[in-house]
Amino acid sequence: MASIVAVKDLQKVYGDGFEALKGVSLSIRKGEILALLGPNGAGKTTLISALCGITTPSGGQATIGGHDILSEYRAARAMVGLVPQEVSLEPFEKVINTVRFSRGLFGRPRDDAFLEQTLRELSLWDKRNNLTKELSGGMKRRVLIAKALCHEPQVLFLDEPTAGVDVELRRDMWRTIEGLRQKGVTIILTTHYIEEAEAIADRIAVINRGEILLIEEKGALMTRMGRKSLRIELDDPIDAVPAALAAYDLELSPDGHFLSYHYKTGGEGTGITRLLQALAQAGLSLRDIHTSQSSLEEIFVGLVREDAA
């Protein structure tokens, strides 16, 4: 698939010597949702800021739609919409005016029909004549999205779009993002909510201390790194794992009611069939079995910890 954003060895060293980006390279495919996952201070916002022109990179290169972000900044930036992390809006401005301002700023001709459509899709049309300071926090965030979308960008950067947003609004936001993807907008979002990346991203990049640790398809990442566990509930408690089952590396719960078995989903076979047969042969009677998949969160914590070691 064609890449729409190409970043090569991008560096950012701040005035105090802090290296926020240590040579980041990544390629973002047209039409995908890429989640940039990382703890606070990992460099997520710096990366987005450098790509959008808010901060000047210290080294390296980046192109958006084939346009260099520095030498062809006009063409590059015209393709990009940015939703910042902080809710920054002019308080005494009407919603419709602030959106119209953004469109003009990006050099697009006035198009009231398009603005109406954008505001309607974000459920803001009824509030168009309200001052932005009169809106709720969630509404303000949507105004920011409307401002970023009103010049019809092909690439949308969302810097922690759901930070401090309640559950319902978060799901709402996910639906909005999915809707944008269906229109062909490439979306890069930063988050430190793993469930967010898990829920909506196509690919996941993990960034920590200014470096990309990995970038991979979400599914592949889960299969490669993911472990599943099988929890077996026994009818009658046992004191110890029978010797016949020693090969399976089972864990017995302290009360003797549960056995846990861990396996990798990416492997050749899971060994479950053999285990269940062995359990029956050992004369154990099962009340229930339950499997669970390790979440991205566990994968992520593992990665970041490895990186720190």
């Binding site: 590059a76 015209a78 920054s88 003009g104 700023l105 990006f106």
Partner: protein, 253 residues
């Protein structure tokens, strides 16, 4: 050239002005009227004439300059400081615009506002004294150039300022004294010789003198020098603004 962006910024800034039209126009009109009452009527009745012009009329060009300079500075500095303060500057930085377009929008709007205020004061003055304008084109040129250059200067202050106090410091501590000591309310020839020489280092003297010449045909310094001074000041401010955007001083990390 992204003219739509220039227009968007300009319209946005002018809207802010018209939202507070009464406050924006009323305060300069009231303060000018007060100057006329105090200087024109109370003191002027004892001074009679300065260089063949009634004192009331003599102070009009200086009063207009005072308002135009302070308004230009405060409008432009606030205009760019506010987005910095509330964080909306991110949008300007991420937009496909260059520094010249941003400056054109903000400074153009601030200059328009101060020009409007200058014109309103001119008409207000017409109620108090009889005014003649001998060189209307030169008068307009001086007025427009002053509005522009001091709005540029205000823009620089707005970028430099890190808090609201700093926003006030320059107009209060630098511009007001310079205007008061710049021959707004007197002719330089009325000063003792030593002070006449010192005054020539005050840039505002050249502005007020040139502006007054366009009204009454008399000046403290040659008109050409006045034009040169204002053109030089404009060029200096433009250079500083260019430098600011080139280095990202106080706007880009």
């Amino acid at each position: 050239m992204n003219l739509r962006a220039v227009r968007a910024i300009y319209v946005h800034e002018m809207k802010r002005f018209f939202r507070t039209l009464m406050e924006s126009l009323l305060s300069p009109v009231i303060s000018t009227s007060l100057y006329f009452v105090v200087f024109g009527a109370a003191i002027g009745s004892r001074i009679d004439q300065v260089e063949g012009v009634s004192y009331g009329a003599f102070i009009v060009p200086g009063l207009i300059m005072l308002s135009v300079m302070t308004q230009g500075i405060s409008n432009a500095s606030f205009g760019i400081y506010f987005p910095k303060f509330i964080g909306t500057i991110y949008e300007l930085l991420s937009a496909p615009v260059n520094f010249f377009e941003i400056v054109l929008g903000y400074v153009g709007a601030a200059a328009t506002k101060s020009l409007m205020i200058g014109v309103v004061i001119l008409f207000t003055a017409g109620f108090f004294v009889e005014l003649e304008v001998r060189h209307p084109l030169a008068m307009l040129a001086f007025l427009v150039l002053t509005c522009l250059s001091f709005s540029l200067f205000g823009f620089i202050i707005g970028i430099w300022a890190e808090n609201f106090q700093q926003l006030q410091v320059i107009p209060l501590l630098v511009i007001t004294p310079l205007v008061f000591l710049g021959g707004s309310f007197y002719s330089i020839s009325m000063l003792p010789p030593v002070w006449q020489t010192i005054t020539l280092f005050n840039p505002v003297v050249y502005l007020v003198s040139g502006f007054r010449w366009s009204f009454f045909g008399q000046a403290d310094v040659p008109v050409g020098l006045s034009l040169l001074a204002i053109a030089g000041f404009t060029a200096l401010c433009l250079f500083l603004v260019w430098l600011i955007f080139k280095t990202g001083y106080r706007i880009k990390a």
